[in-house]
């Protein structure tokens, strides 16, 4: 999707939190990104490296925790998790009738500052 917009938002939020806590350098930023969030991790890291220049996060690295896609099937009533980006049918019974409950997370979990 739109990794530069995302990288700029990450940078803003991280710098804001770093300043508010009274620190002046960010060493790392840990993100939680769902498999279905539409994010290419490599492109996000590349974009972040481009936008972090001359900021408190100039030396910061991005750490990505991937979150699986989770859903529940309306047919077999089971819950499932999947590492696929797009779930097209219930992995348990093959039904097309299911709900996706998680997997589009796009969050900053924590930052390491000095």
């Amino acid at each position: 999707m739109h990794e530069v917009s995302i990288a700029l938002n990450v940078l803003d939020i991280a710098i804001d939190n770093c300043r508010k806590s009274g620190y002046d350098r960010i060493e790392s930023i840990r993100l939680k990104i769902g498999r279905a969030a539409g994010i290419m991790p490599d492109a996000l890291v590349f974009a972040f490296d481009a936008v972090k220049t001359d900021t408190l996060a100039e030396k910061a690295t991005i750490i990505i925790d991937h979150a699986p896609v989770g859903g529940s099937c309306n047919t077999c009533k089971k819950n499932f998790v999947s590492e696929e980006t797009y779930v097209l049918c219930c992995p348990e019974c093959g039904s097309n009738s299911f709900r996706i409950n998680s997997g589009r997370e796009l969050e900053i979990i924590d930052i390491e500052v000095v």
């Binding site: 739109h2 097209l88 969050e107 390491e112």
Partner: protein
Amino acid sequence: MKIKVVTRILEANERIAAENRKLFDNAGVYVINLMSAPGAGKTSLLEETIKEINNRLKIAVIEGDIAGTQDAERIGNLGIPVVQINTGGACHLDANIINEVLGEIPLKHIDLLFVENVGNLVCPAEFNIGEDIKVMLLSITEGDDKPLKYPLMFQESSALVLNKIDLLPYTNTDIEKIKRDAFSLNPSLKIFKVSCKTGEGVREWTDWLFSIAKKD
């Protein structure tokens, strides 16, 4: 030392989208975020929709394009309030861009606001602008492989309008495959088949639009 942040990265966009939503709700305006690839016929669909429904609902349009004012001129020719946004390169509209132009839309005097997003099957689906629903348009000539190639847009949309069905005899597009794949991605999707050129199917689309958009 570690600082817990736990913040959604697109929180800023979501916050402004919620502000927009409040303005729309207070004015009783139903908002549709219209998305498709370039050339699928978004502006043509709006023209046909406005002609068909404007006596029943008061409509305004926000046009999003990278450059140019052709779309806004076409809509303006129908006597509809219209604002053109030029993103200058950005491939989608976000909540903040919409927020900045809302002052130019007579919200109190309209029932239905269409936001014609930048032509693109990827990014627009990722950014909420405060709309009630997303509607996507797919033209027959784009081929029947699109639902499985661009799944998010089909998952996020409440309705799919298949345009240019007058061209079906001249293509290899299998409309049943489009419907099957789109339903597998989004079982509650409403699907309409229209031709903005011949007018076929436009009435079914506008009747549905009227039924969902009429707020008291």
